[in-house]
């Protein structure tokens, strides 16, 4: 897993609009070496005149095989994400390099309790971790807290609901619009939310936090304030403020 090869050609196999701003892309990458749950890749686009742009994307799929799943959220003024969300179609080609990152990963040999906390598209590497947990029939205690603007903005909502069982709990935070009858009023994630809806310090969980930089900063700070040791908190910051 240590060798990062050069750029690999990928063909878009499927492109599915899953939220008002986002798509899931399934790439077929014949030379893909497989990846651990939680890793990311670099994706490169090349224009006809040779101009290139590269961005990082987390990988929602894990394990062996040459099918690589991404979920991309469109940033209105972006260069790459609007192309991936609006323009690219099955049959189109692009390039990827990876898998990258050996730190924000979960291996099925891990047995300790795990708390996953995602904001927006930050769910992508955590979905792959949740999938790996299920695929391994791991009994490690998992709990996920997913913060989204509104119900329709959630990626993988029904799949995640389907994972809920004795060893996987799922909690939601809605920042702008909560579903009818949802107990919590819409608003940004707070210390009280984290206290109420995540594994306590006493469980000594390993915590994975992923999302826009501002979200990760806020959540990681609350976790430290609550007494989680900094070395038990793994973060992946997607950018933005």
């Amino acid at each position: 897993m240590a060798i990062v090869a050069g750029w690999l050609v990928g063909t878009v196999a499927r492109a599915m609009r899953v939220t008002p701003q986002g798509r899931v892309l399934i790439l077929d990458v014949p030379e893909w070496p497989g990846n651990l749950a939680g890793q990311h890749l670099d994706l490169r686009l090349t224009a006809e005149d040779g101009y290139q742009a590269v961005r990082s994307y987390s990988i929602a799929s894990f394990g062996d095989g040459h099918s690589v799943e991404l979920a991309v959220d469109e940033l209105p003024d972006g260069e790459v994400s609007p192309y991936l969300v609006q323009d690219v179609e099955p049959g189109d080609m692009l390039e990827v390099r990876g898998p990258l990152g050996n730190f924000f990963v979960w291996r099925d040999s891990q047995t300790e309790p795990v708390q996953l906390i995602a904001g927006g598209s930050g769910i992508v590497p955590l979905v792959s971790i949740a999938r790996a947990h299920r695929a391994a029939a791991s009994t490690a205690k998992f709990r996920m807290l997913y913060s989204v603007r509104a119900p329709e903005d959630a990626y993988y909502a029904s799949e995640l609901e389907g994972l809920v069982d004795d060893s996987f709990a799922l909690d939601w935070v809605y920042t702008r619009t909560a579903p009818v009858g949802f107990a919590r009023t819409a608003g940004r994630i707070t210390r009280a939310d984290i206290e109420a809806s995540t594994l306590p310090v006493a469980d000594n969980p390993l915590v994975y936090v992923c999302g826009p930089t501002g979200f990760v900063e806020a959540v990681a700070r609350i976790l430290v304030d609550l007494g989680h040791p900094a070395e038990r908190i793994k973060t992946e910051r997607f950018g933005g403020s």
Partner: protein
Amino acid sequence: MAVFSRGFGARRRESDPELPPGQYLTEDFPVLSAGPTPRIDTADWSFSITTESGAVTTWSWDELMALPIEDVHTDIHCVTRWSKLGTSWRGVSLDTLFADIDTSDAYTMIESYGGYTTNVPLEDLQGGKAWIAFEFDGEPLDPEHGGPARLLVPHLYFWKSAKWVHGIRMHSDDDPGFWEQNGYNMYGDPWKEQRYW
């Protein structure tokens, strides 16, 4: 030869010849760190250099501030592909801090509050190439960006510019630091695109 991505040309930005290969320009200041942001009060802050003989030279915040402070204008390049041009920093040159240090080791391990480490050859820290920086754009450095002080070694990818810097330990060999053990290049020259293993 790269494959073309159909229709991407319509979305492309202008390319910038000042940028190393594979980088794009940003006006923001993105953040790459593996864990929570440590918060260190300058009253508790210290910086030390430890040599192979075990000798430790330590500076408190006030002692650092009493040293000659330099203005640094430089481009910075992050391995996650963003670059910023013409950023302004203030800090103390590593030449000043190493002036009275007696070592024959050629490598260093930079150590940070929070436990992160990164390896840099000593010669890359000397000769006006590296600083302990505590001001960015005229303001005290935000904790998110490594405040109260970070290493600034801008000719290498920015993960080498360790945030929340706490000390430097001399090493006889080029041992990998935290990011280097987790997939990043040992040296990290952006102009040679030394991103990963």
